[in-house]
Symmetry: C2
Subunit: 343 residues, 2 copies
């Protein structure tokens, strides 16, 4: 049947332990024997059983990753960052797709725990108190990416400073002559990002002496369709609102908004400017190119794994902090300077 380490040992005329050594610490075995073993491995086409190895070594060399949704357009880039540094550290990554369900996200912890991952990068919903029971008993280091914790258990997090990022977006819009700025917000419940970005919007307006108007805001769930519909609702009040720009809490919503405007015979940015958030790869594919706030997804993933790796070596490396990674504004074509109807 399957070729095991014993078969190799026999073939090479050594003990299984020696085979194991040439696999893991080749410097401990004499060159001659080493070659003999390597040869046997080749001849028999032996592949070490990673499962058995993990069991014995009490560690599966695996990082667990919980993502909100596998089809989210930012997933790929985030994964890349995570995979890159994991691989560099000789670890694999085990993926768990929460499918946008809070319940499934919680299940992710159980799943990954059962698979003996050495650490978990969690990138889904807000981690609130209801996660505490699970987190307490987990016994596995957890690092957050793209989200934050309000749970009792303090968790290290890597993300952009959402408030500042949207503040900067508002500043950008204002610097281009906009004052009547609408917002396509994310969800307020269940999602720290939604709250923070809305807050950034309000703070931005306040700073520039622009009054906040509830009627300028509609919210969605970050997806294209919800952006489309939110824009539609905003449009119904456009006669009174006279918005010159709309800031969306995600690129997908921004693109949904653009699509909606187009369907209503409005041009972007001539009739209305639209700005997004994320800088997904699609942002530069669409016409007009989307001006947006870029998040460094890959870097966030990398830093999260780095942190996990550090936590494994040194215990309790300043845990619980939220580290902000730099966002930046990417200027393309969806925002117009000096809009006609600026007040």
């Amino acid at each position: 049947m399957k070729v095991t380490i014993r078969d190799v040992a026999q073939q090479a005329g050594v003990s299984p332990a020696t085979v194991s050594r040439v696999l893991n610490k080749p410097e401990l075995v004499e060159p001659a024997t080493r070659e003999r073993v390597r040869n046997a491995i080749r001849v028999l086409d032996f592949q070490p059983n990673a499962i058995a190895r993990g069991l014995s070594a009490q560690n599966s060399d695996t990082i667990g990753l919980v993502v909100p949704g596998i089809t989210d357009l930012f997933f790929g880039e985030l994964y890349r960052g995570i995979e890159r540094v994991s691989r560099r550290a000789g670890m694999k990554v085990l993926l768990f797709d929460a499918q946008h369900s809070r319940h499934r996200a919680l299940e992710g912890f159980t799943f990954l725990r059962q698979h003996q991952v050495g650490g978990i990068v969690f990138t889904s919903k807000l981690v609130s108190e209801d996660f505490d029971p699970v987190l307490e008993r987990l016994g596995i280091p957890v690092v957050l990416a793209l989200t934050q914790a309000t749970s009792k258990t303090p968790l290290h997090a890597f993300k952009v400073d959402d408030v500042k990022a949207v503040f900067d977006a508002v500043s950008y819009l204002v610097s281009r002559g906009h004052r009547r700025i609408g917002m396509l917000s994310g969800q307020i419940e269940d999602d720290i990002t939604g709250t923070l970005r809305l807050q950034g919007y309000r703070t931005g307006l306040l700073h520039y002496g622009i009054e906040f108007q509830a009627s300028f805001v509609e919210n969605g769930d970050y997806r294209f369709d919800s952006g489309y519909r939110a824009m539609q609702r905003l449009l119904r009040r456009q006669a009174e609102n006279r918005l010159t720009a709309v800031f969306a809490a995600s690129d997908e919503m921004a693109i949904g908004a653009i699509r909606c405007l187009h369907d209503n015979g409005l041009r972007v940015p001539e009739d209305l400017s639209v700005m997004g958030f994320d800088d997904l790869s699609v942002a530069h594919m669409v016409v007009p190119g989307l001006t947006t706030v870029a998040q460094p997804f890959a870097e966030i993933g990398e830093r999260a794994v780095d942190q996990l790796l550090q936590m494994r070596s040194a215990e309790g490396v300043h845990a619980g902090a939220t580290e902000y990674l730099p966002h930046r504004i990417v200027e393309r074509e969806s925002v117009q300077t000096a809009p006609a109807g600026a007040s």
Copy 2:
């Protein structure tokens, strides 16, 4: 430390074997004991170690998946299909990203083999003779998705009929009055899809009595940038070519082409019609909405796993066949009827 099955056994006053039974075959254990054990599990917050379980059971309940690139826009949908039926069968999926490298794709087999996966869904490059040495020794069922094999080892495959699909696309274009149809082709080497789609294009033209012109074709690598550049090259000859429509071998290239046309002051579809292939989620987000050939990614994934599951039970279920899943044309706005310059 970690809670094991022995701790539970002790707590419940039974043997480890009994605990194992309530975990896997609860009907074999008396209700009273069962409850006692379940209670102990709850109290101790016991989580079975999937690694140990896999080692003992000689099977990791895992399906391996090799994808060409995690950032490919179709990845999400494909994964969903695969995950859905795996999960239904009580299996997990272990992902391997080939990062668009043939070499890495081959590594995927090794990686997954070491992890004792019960089957592999391979969705990357063309599987040619150079895969044979690996395939022969693998000893794990492999099913192809979105690709095909020219290797000696016969492999079951699920995909759309690329030739027919592009033939249908050409038919669609012709039915809309186009005869001067350009093509943004994929790669010819290293990728069965490129060859097949080009063939569909030629067959289509032939069928409608349109002469094939090499100067109407440019190729790329399916990505946005390459579509942009290929379109640029086509545009340089547009004075002579007088194309009224361009068919791209992927949505990304089609969108790149649209972007290119826009940058050159040409309108889609008024000045030139563009048609894509894939029906990615972005196809309906862009302006104009992309008319394209839809591939049932999720279904392809589902069928592939189904096949794998069958192969595990019944040995050698009609292996080696290529099963075509239905494509369909999705009409949006990027193709114009009765183009002005139609010959």
